[in-house]
Subunit: 345 residues, 4 copies
């Protein structure tokens, strides 16, 4: 297993979904930066379960606490240890989770790879691990904001339903809710839930204010690193940069250049793996939540055939909670690329 | 710049498109494996310019030579040095390439990042660099084939034209041509060229015979590593795993499990970043060739406005030549994951 | 700062000497190994302060607790989090430690590098950090013992006093005491302490049972990795492999070979960075404890001249406590080299 | 095998002692630095065989040539390929080198690890590999000199013969000879040679002008990295930092501090793995040349007992040629630490 990411500032996450705690170590961070738990907490609340009507009903406080690396509210340069206690770690549903391999989940591959089963829950493969990424990203994001770099993700499409960008950009205060309570969506998602169904999501991410010249070709291009990190998020299955090139020809995609800059941004702000000063734009597609209350065909840990079914309420669109996770992963990439760029200046 | 890839067996590539040579070092390879230049050459010929009617007209022999790491035709365990001489390295088109920033190319970002310009050609940002990846991949591919692992990419769509999979699977001998000369395509591509246009390509890649349990969660999942490597290929803009999830709901995507195995492969052979024993399936989208014979608006190296245009014939669909490159990158990932899996057995 | 080590199994340590806790993450460890806190605790007790008459008088329980990565007493393959609470973390001696740069200590270099001062104590530069290395090494050591590999360090010389190897090898039960209470030493060390003095130590380390062929030339030779790890231990200033070559000529150092094996082991079990099947032998020299109760000339954090002095009892020979630390670092190297060797078999 | 070193600027070396060529790739170097082959050549000549009376009689031109990464005499930021052709690569002494395992050499460990034998010579384990390190170090050294950092090694002792530091510091122009032709040494070394003997060497290295605050604790301390690199040099067996601590007590080693700086430099310029602004000082001990013209007991590649003996003249003190190698390795460390220090400023 590999639980670290980050080229220069390195994050290591640990802990299981139904263990005592989850957490992260940040190594290589700047010294003498003010860090407050409440700033991290705000960001963390955006992905917290139970915040919205539609997400999973697990009751977690997701209360972050910093244990090392801080002295008198400032970083010392030493590794920063963040931890979150698990409260609701009683295994909910033994018959289903503990014994059966849930279709679409990593239960069967973890069992076959590691030859064991943490029957209390999803262990490390649970999306609960991403809370730690969000906490770390909050630190980086603050620094990036001060440099004028803004990383923002929005929902673009849920299943077949396209979301009007201009409409919700104005309506939604994204800093206090992790999804947006657009009336039109409510019925759509309720119907899914009532029919024991779940749905995919497409998230668009826009990075504004990113300097020219970031990215390390040939094999650490900024787009290839972004793809690497985004595809490490649970349930993500696809990424594309810039416009949908699939049906385009060169007449439509030219980002011609004038002395005032580029005339368009079809390439999503990246040429040859290096930022060109335009906003970086990419889209991520998340598959539908694998767990629904509909019964499915599967096998159990004795490899006998059985039926699997998630009791209780389920989260019909896992992609809705991915927004702060994407933003955190991108914060980590960007802060590291800024450091790398500085090296050779 | 970062010119290395590979988790355990490490490849470093070097050389510029219009310099003396290009090449690669393979470090950490097995000892006592038979290696013949002609086997590598065969694979290399598949991406060689001038092989097909439609690809770029640069005349390169692309003759591979091994200089170190081999003794009596067998690897010694020492680093293997492969090199290819550049023959056609006269800068073709000084007015256009040397002075102007070609729209859609990395000319402008390299100039702004590295504060210099190799006016002879694209330097390291040229797709010529990928010849070295293909050469290295040929070594790994041979070993994988002997383990029953087959990595194969096919063209799925060119622009809006879908390619019938079953049709060409039988017709095309992919081992001797790097694109397929389907009559129906000829006219389509000729029209593009004549109208100074270029077009995108979608390539499907299928990995058969891959063992269960490969991939290193949480942050070196096999899909996130594949995304990383594929997005490092010139002109690639998107990857997606399994089916097109964008418009699906969970009713359509269940990979239910019986005692005889999975009933479908919507997840593309990967669950939680670990192979589940089914074929890995993913699609890559390449943008249209940026250079066409159509004049475009740009600036030159004095930042004055000018027109850019590629003289001579151009390759209207750069994605067509990407097939052996994708296969080589995947070979590198898979051989490394096989090694990593072995560690803990 | 870089708080990780280990080529394949990776350890990250964290926490400050006078903070809430210290700890370590082990990432990439085997799954399905039985792990018990009490086995780690035994090893940890060997370096615990206050165990012997002569070591520092800080009262720490050094109670290890495992928080993640274990399920039903067995490792799951997930990251293992170990932590030790700091009990005696009141800053002892504010006038001396908090304000003054203690000569011979890292106070001044940390202050100048990180531009801050954790005035509670030595922070990360304190030898307390090594408790975490010992805890991790205990896990690896158990596995190595089962493979017949024994890593043992002994004190060879304290100051000018040579220790009779054969004498104490029989007398000392090294598994229950972290130094040995040889009567002859008692007076020697008491005299040092009474005269506010401290002394160097030379430790010999012998690795028995190590297989042939371990080590990765050219730049990860087993001896160069050992040197790397040993010189990362607080107060270590020198390492030498095999015999004292300084005054030898080739007549005296030949490790001639017969069909029954080598006739001597002057090279300390390593040729060209690879083990030759003989025991690995090396010596480490630790400088005298920098803190004594004798007053020394120094400057304070306002860069004004002052006197520094450690109140209370001090540990006159810091090298005595290094034995389990050396053994732990070597365990980490050896287990990783065993894994690397396996890769290519 | 691991053929790369360097934390940020990364060097990979390749090639065998009796193959076609040896060489190196430098990846991650600055762009827009002037680089001339003749500057590298000068440094390379210092370790070239046949330069002095006493070193090995292999006739090599050691002519360096740069193939990539340079355009119009300046670096582009792309990987720099350096290569040196092997001229004298006829295997000299088949009976001895090709079939027998030379005592003290890596012949037997390479054979047992890699299960093959390059019977033409020492392959990668030959000291010839170090020519590539010297070439790369020359590039870095130039940059460091411009920053006022001087890295210089001197011979301190040969066998039991101490070299008077002040004497030769004035007499020897170290920029044109790789050893110094002190009359007093001549007879001493000639006697060794005539008696088929060889001898150890102790080299002192002094780094002047190094800034405060370099080094990355806890596990990439500057001393632990130096130890790592120095012990990777052929025939090196020991390193020690600062004074000989073995017989010292704290009365003798205090580096007391005044407002004008340190009163002594017993710690060799390093406290807690971080430079304190004083010169870094360390000593390296090289074992006597293993090959002499004296017959020794060994086995051959069929594991039968035989005698080994080096015909022709031999180099009686391999440490004499290590000076430019040490300096090159240190250049690599220092330039990387300067880059790392810059990151957080």
């Amino acid at each position: 297993m590999n639980n670290s990411y980050g080229e220069i500032i390195k994050i290591t996450t640990f802990g299981e979904s139904h263990g005592l705690l989850i957490g992260a170590i940040i190594d290589g961070f700047y010294s003498n930066k003010y860090i407050f738990e409440r700033v991290i907490q705000l960001k963390l609340n955006l992905r917290k379960p139970f915040t919205s009507l539609f997400s999973t009903q697990r009751k977690e406080l997701d209360k972050i606490k910093i244990f090392t690396g801080i002295f008198e509210s400032k970083t010392t340069g030493c590794p920063i240890l963040l931890m979150i206690k698990n409260h609701d770690n009683n295994s909910l549903d033994y018959n289903n989770i503990a014994k059966n391999f849930r279709p679409g989940h990593a239960d069967i591959t973890y069992k076959k790879k590691y030859k064991n089963r943490d029957f209390r829950g999803g262990g490390r493969s649970s999306a609960r691990e991403t809370a730690c990424r969000v906490a770390c990203g909050a630190l980086f994001n603050n620094i990036l904001n001060n440099k004028g770099i803004l990383i923002r993700s929005y929902i673009k499409q849920i299943g077949k339903l396209k979301i009007n960008f201009n409409y919700w950009k104005n309506k939604i205060n994204r800093f206090f809710t992790n999804i947006f309570f657009i009336k039109e969506l409510k019925e759509y998602i309720n119907n899914l839930k009532n029919s024991s169904n779940s749905i995919s999501a497409e998230i668009i991410t826009i990075i504004n204010g990113i300097p020219i010249g970031m990215g390390d070709p040939i094999y650490k291009k900024i787009d290839s690193i972004i793809a690497n990190y985004i595809l490490s998020i649970n349930a993500s299955k696809s990424i594309f940069f810039g416009i949908n090139f699939k049906k385009k020809n060169s007449f439509n995609i030219k980002d011609e250049i004038t002395k005032f800059g580029f005339l368009s941004n079809n390439n999503g702000g990246i040429l040859g793996g290096i930022t060109n000063g335009q906003p970086i734009v990419f889209n991520t597609i998340f598959k539908p939540t694998s767990s629904t209350s509909k019964e499915t065909q599967t096998i159990n840990d004795k490899f006998l055939e059985t039926k699997s079914k998630t009791f209780g309420r389920h989260d019909p669109c896992v992609g809705l909670r991915a927004i702060p996770i994407i933003e955190s992963m991108i914060s980590t990439i960007v802060i590291n690329k800024i450091i790398k760029k500085k090296i050779y200046e």
